[in-house]
């Protein structure tokens, strides 16, 4: 899943992030320092701002004010660092095969030898035998495997997971948790939004609770981390 680290660890700094939709605040004065290699979980009720914060980190949404910075372990700017994004929507084309999807995104990202990279990732997510099948014929769990393979194409140093376990069965969640554990152990910076405790949340080294767009709790210690996750899922 992770192979040799072909990336440099990257941290993310959110400074006074506001996001407004009209008069409604989705995020209000969010400031967080995510260290390189950290595995942080954003917890909170629906509408608390988790997804918006992740999409701002992915540069898919522009913050109304404040700034997001990417820095390597030496504190140098690494704004161009590759980012992998996995959401509950699979972000792959149902009409294309698993292999065609990976080849498409590999070529768009300018990856050298895209066919080899796609094949290697399909092997890692256990879909090599179904490489020629259209994604529309896949189960939810298989689609999520394609999504993870797509997110790993460019050897990202930062991985963002927006409720990645939505719709997965227990076996799928176990597989996903193991994959994320390998990514975390390889030194990748991971930000996840989750509902409640699960095998996946157990991987977190830090938990941040959001409520109405603001950070209301932030901890790295075991007992507090547990309480944040259980409270948020309530």
């Amino acid at each position: 899943m992770t192979a040799a680290a072909a990336f440099s660890p990257t941290g993310i700094s959110f400074k006074n992030i506001d996001k407004r939709y009209g008069g409604l605040y989705a995020l209000r004065r969010v400031s967080l320092e995510i260290a390189p290699g950290e595995c942080a979980v954003f917890a909170g009720r629906n509408g608390s701002g988790k997804t918006t914060l992740l999409r701002i980190a992915a540069r898919l949404v522009r913050a109304s004010s404040g700034e997001v910075k990417y820095q390597n372990g030496k504190g140098e700017d690494s704004t161009g660092a590759p980012i992998g994004f996995v959401a509950h929507a699979t972000m792959v084309y149902d009409e294309l095969t698993a292999e065609e999807n990976l080849l498409l995104f590999a070529r768009l990202q300018g990856i050298a030898e895209p066919a080899m990279r796609a094949e290697a990732l399909l092997g890692e997510v256990g879909l090599l035998e179904r490489r020629g099948s259209q994604v529309r014929t896949f189960s939810r769990g298989m689609r999520q495997r394609v999504a993870i393979a797509r997110a790993l194409l460019n050897q990202p140093s930062v991985l963002l997971f927006d409720e990645p376990a939505t719709g997965l069965d227990p076996q799928g969640i176990t597989w996903l948790a193991e994959s994320i554990r390998q990514m975390r152990d390889a030194g990748r910076t991971i930000l996840m939004s989750l509902h409640g405790e699960s095998e996946i949340s157990a991987l977190a080294t830090r938990a941040v609770r959001l409520d109405a767009g603001s950070v209301v709790a932030d901890t790295k210690t075991g007992a507090s981390l547990h309480s944040i996750l259980t409270f948020a899922g309530a």
């Binding site: 898919l60 994004f85 972000m91 792959v92 009409e95 070529r107 768009l108």
Partner: protein
Amino acid sequence: MALLSNTAVLLGKELRTEFRSRELLTTTVVFILVVVVLFSFTFDPTSSESRRFGPGLLWLSFLFAASLMLQPCFLREQNNDTLSALRLSVSDPFAIFLAKLIANTVFLLLTEILMLPIFAVLYNVHVLPVLAQLVLVFLLGSLGVAIPGTAFSAISAQARMRELMLPLLLLPLLTPVLIASTEATAGLLDPNPELRGAWLGFLAGFDVVFLTALWLFGEYLLEE
């Protein structure tokens, strides 16, 4: 270079998915066929009137069909949030527009060329002697429809009442393209055919202006 290679990759994806499903091409061809046949019943197709009204009816049917064809252009990128994946992958977001507008132009042009013989038979006009010039008019006219159409498809995909939004935004804007394309086509279907350069120049100018605007401001249309 990255813009061109990204555009080529995305164009390949657009063509592959459409030729695999043939959803857009089938719907558009059937729509234009129905309109052209119904109009041919409303007046005597052997009269000289058909040469006067035929090009206008033809372009009107192309325009309505295009608004149907352009609707799913960005809408189907929302099903699995693939637009986000594209935005994370391309170095220049204009490549997304460029690939889509080229694909839309190709689909529209294919439909028009397929419908031309049927139009010629039903409206009793000779198209073979001016076929090359007609294809040029179709190309410039189709680009004129596809460029703003692709941009408005991106806008309407994020709006409420999106099915109504696209034709409401697009059709008034495309009135100059409708007039210029109709006039250029009418000139070619005349008993003494002539290529009306002024209308072709107008179409080319329209295409360049809107392509430039899309290049400059397209990125903002993709933002959430």
